[in-house]
Amino acid sequence: MGKKTDSELIIDGIRLDKRLPDQTREIKMKVGNIVSANGSAEVAFGNTTALASVHGPRPLFPKHLQESQTGILRVRYNMAPFSVTDRKSPGPDRRSVEISKVTRLALEPSLFLDDYPKVTVDGFVEIIQADGSTRVTGINALSLALASAGIPMTSLVSACSVGKINGTLIVDLNGMEDNNSESDVAVAMMPDKDIVTLLQMDGMLTKEELLHLLGLAKKTCGKIYEMQKNALLEKYRGEE
């Protein structure tokens, strides 16, 4: 999944996996799938699958790491060795260190961490299948996991990727598209507040293209937000 190619990736306005430019892959969400965690979720965008869980709020050790005025959020993003075509050695690499950080920053604005002095909320994202757009899939999952852990949130965070291939602006890049894109953009938002919490962009775009893509991202995040709310409702319904 996701090699370099010289072939066209969009033919007559249709992408290789039959999608329209602004169409996401099939999205699946499940909340509460990990009993051992305070909160958890699984989110799949096509063949990209992220599991997320939350432990905490819990006391932070060693003590000198504690913040007296606020709680902290810690995030680890990790890819399973078998999640990619060529086996990934276990352990963090520079890419996962960066994604762990931007994932944390994408979610922090949604939390009231000041309510939890001296404690930590630990969020974990495991990518078990990677076919592009893993970081945004992970953010969607971790947002659900935080909500299902009962951590007070000002809003859910919803995320998607947008980009440009063969001159066309598209939504939700799969692995093949990602590796052959002229540009890709990862966006996370609190859709009900029109607040952007993640924005990363690679490749070449004019300002106009970029603004157009941001518009597509906003629309898509809005749809994902509705799906997330439904997934949470379904969990609570299941619990009744």
């Binding site: 999944m1 990990i34 599991l51 078998f82 990619v84 276990p90 495991e126 078990i128 299948q129």
Partner: protein
């Protein structure tokens, strides 16, 4: 609290979830769950969840086995799975679990390693089994061994192009898996023996004897675990229980 209760129940001949002492929790096994892997399996044993993925790489044989493929098992106790698990390199429990699963498969010659040679002495297939613990609600080892075996059973060997590069997604043949060793951990509290502990039961057991058994009842790996000893006289009945139970569990593996 729950732990003390689980312990008192066992001592009075009962279990926290009303199972028989030698009864496993409900097991759900799914094959081919990871599109990026050459073989994979998901095992849910009660609420314990494990994924095993197999990657096939072209590698160099070890100097002392030039005509055999290479086999390796790793386990990651992801911090998803338990609030006790931490980020970082595999701890001793993850290392031990991977090594027990590895030995159970390696020593039983479950994979025909001689059939994994591409160029004798130079290029062979390496079989990497990665076990990802998703949710720890007890008895990880038995779930992990089931997942690894199932993943190997559905593993396919990719084709190579004319330059010897792996053509991912194009397969040549199945991985030659010729046995089905099953690992059963027999748990002990005092003189009580029971199987497939929940997380609460696991935290109060005295000791555990994990035994890998072949189709013909041969034993191919064994490991005592847990903080207390086992009376010598009890070993035989623990072995008998494992042999017996392995037959039932083997039916779960296609």
């Amino acid at each position: 609290m729950m732990e003390t209760y689980a312990l008192e129940l066992i001592q009075s001949g009962k279990r926290i979830d009303k199972r028989e002492f030698l009864q496993f929790r409900n097991a759900e096994i799914k094959e081919n769950v990871i599109a990026t892997a050459e073989g994979s399996a998901y095992v849910k044993l009660g609420n314990t969840q494990v994924i095993a993925g197999v990657k096939m790489n072209v590698g160099t044989p070890f100097a002392d086995t030039p005509n055999e493929g290479v086999f390796s098992v790793s386990a990651e106790f992801t911090p998803l799975a338990s609030e006790e698990f931490e980020s970082g390199p595999p701890g001793e429990d993850a290392v031990e679990l991977a090594r027990i699963v590895d030995r159970g498969i390696r020593e039983s010659k479950t994979i025909e390693m001689g059939k994994l040679v591409i160029t004798p002495g130079e290029k062979v297939w390496s079989v990497f089994v990665d076990i990802h613990i998703i949710d720890n609600q007890g008895n990880l080892l038995n779930a992990a061994a089931l997942a690894a075996l199932t993943a190997l059973l559905n593993t396919r060997i990719p084709k190579l192009d004319t330059e010897g590069k792996v053509l991912r997604g194009d397969y040549e043949r199945k991985l030659p898996v010729v046995h089905k060793p099953i690992t059963v951990s027999v748990c002990k509290v005092g003189d009580k023996l029971f199987l497939d502990p929940t997380k609460e039961e696991e935290s109060v057991l005295d000791s555990k004897l994990s035994i890998a058994v072949m189709e013909d009842d041969t034993i191919c790996a064994m490991q005592k675990q847990g903080n207390k000893g086992i009376e010598f006289a009890m070993l035989e009945s623990m072995i008998d229980i494992a042999i017996e139970k392995s037959k039932e569990l083997r039916k779960l593996v296609k």
